[in-house]
Symmetry: C2
Subunit: 229 residues, 2 copies
């Protein structure tokens, strides 16, 4: 299958690398290809620049947002929340319509310092904003509740733990669940309901930040434990 | 030990009943004692009126918010989020100062229908509002991430799962952790940090509502699973 992955950061790299590793054709999309390949410095988290990663993953193509979206039969959006809608505008509705659009972003706003706040929450969500802006795309929210490495290697966190999907299109959610299980290795995928349920998983980000501060590692996840009956 | 429990709903009943059961002296506080004892109808969730519960728990005293706060050496606040600050005004700062004030509320707003929104979140929390309004009280946020029955009977959800504490006063959090473990039966209590970390647990409410919709039961909780290392 052909995938477009929008975003060249650690999230985009993790998703693109895993999809390529399991045998899919992948094009990563960026705003400005020349600029992305020029960048020499590590990101704010100390991750090496995209071109170093790209040298290690030569089978992954690189193009503009529009080229990657046109290339992909399914699109992952792995862009910082605040820039997501701009990036999708750049990709173009004609390259997104009728496709599954997998939103894995968090709308973190660090402008007030730490802890960050969310630039959208409570009465709306990033996923709903995307669905409204691109009504013909089949938006599925998932994976935003774990760090990039765990998204594609859930076994880094031992034992049972859960990932969630939200979206209006049942077949799109079923396909994403198949990708999560077969390609990424997730054992438990919980379907929360329609796209408005993305509010719940996006608002979990604040507790994720709490837990990262307490546990001193991003390598964790949650398991939903329920009463038998 | 003497406890004041503000609120006569299912949350207040659960907390007060458990504290009395394990041998503490408890006074439940309400806005208007006569009105509370007059009420004959079940609440919106079908729970019987307070007076039925009170007949089954005659050792629990009933008083005004101010009387219950004056009575308690430690105060639980089990009031719907939107009415919490008013209730605490009624209790009076002089009855709250220097005491541990355990906030277990969620600021749910159903005025837009379902799903509800939060009347405070993201840049602030109910717990922080309480701490600012009563700076001499030692506010600890906990228990708002599970349903009332599970708060005081964590064994209703099998296996390992976690509850959280947030607050500025380390000794107050240690005392609340002792109550949670010794009186309520919690095995794992995670200290998230200062009172601003209440934003994270309060914003989990939206995912809790998602999960209740999906699992068709409020009898669940989450376990934090982490990488070994």
């Amino acid at each position: 299958m052909k995938y477009g992955v929008l975003g060249t950061g650690i999230v985009g790299q993790s998703i693109a690398g895993k999809l390529a590793q399991v045998g899919h054709e992948v094009m990563v999309g960026t705003r400005d290809v020349a600029q992305t390949l020029q960048r020499d410095n590590a990101d704010a988290m100390g991750n090496p620049p995209f071109k170093v990663w790209h040298q290690q993953h030569p089978q992954v193509k690189l193009g503009t947002f529009a080229e990657a979206a046109a290339f992909g039969e399914i699109i992952f959006v792995g862009i910082s929340g605040g820039r997501t809608l701009d990036a999708l505008e750049g990709a173009g509705a004609n390259n997104l319509d009728d496709k599954i659009l997998i939103d894995i972003g968090n709308a973190l706003d660090f402008s007030r310092g730490f802890p960050p706040t969310l630039s959208v929450c409570n009465t709306d969500s990033l996923a709903e904003q995307i669905q409204r802006a691109f009504p013909q795309a089949k938006v599925v929210k998932t994976l935003n509740t774990v760090t990039a490495y765990v998204m594609v290697n859930p076994g880094m966190v031992p034992g049972d733990h859960d990932i969630f999907v939200s979206g209006n299109d049942a077949r799109a959610k079923a396909k994403v669940t198949e990708i999560l299980k077969n390609d990424f290795g997730w054992k438990s995928v919980i379907d929360l309901g329609d796209i408005t349920t993305a509010r719940g998983v996006e608002m979990m980000m604040m507790q994720w930040i709490n837990l990262m501060g307490t546990l001193k590692t991003p390598l964790f996840n949650i398991k939903v434990v329920r009463a038998q009956g």
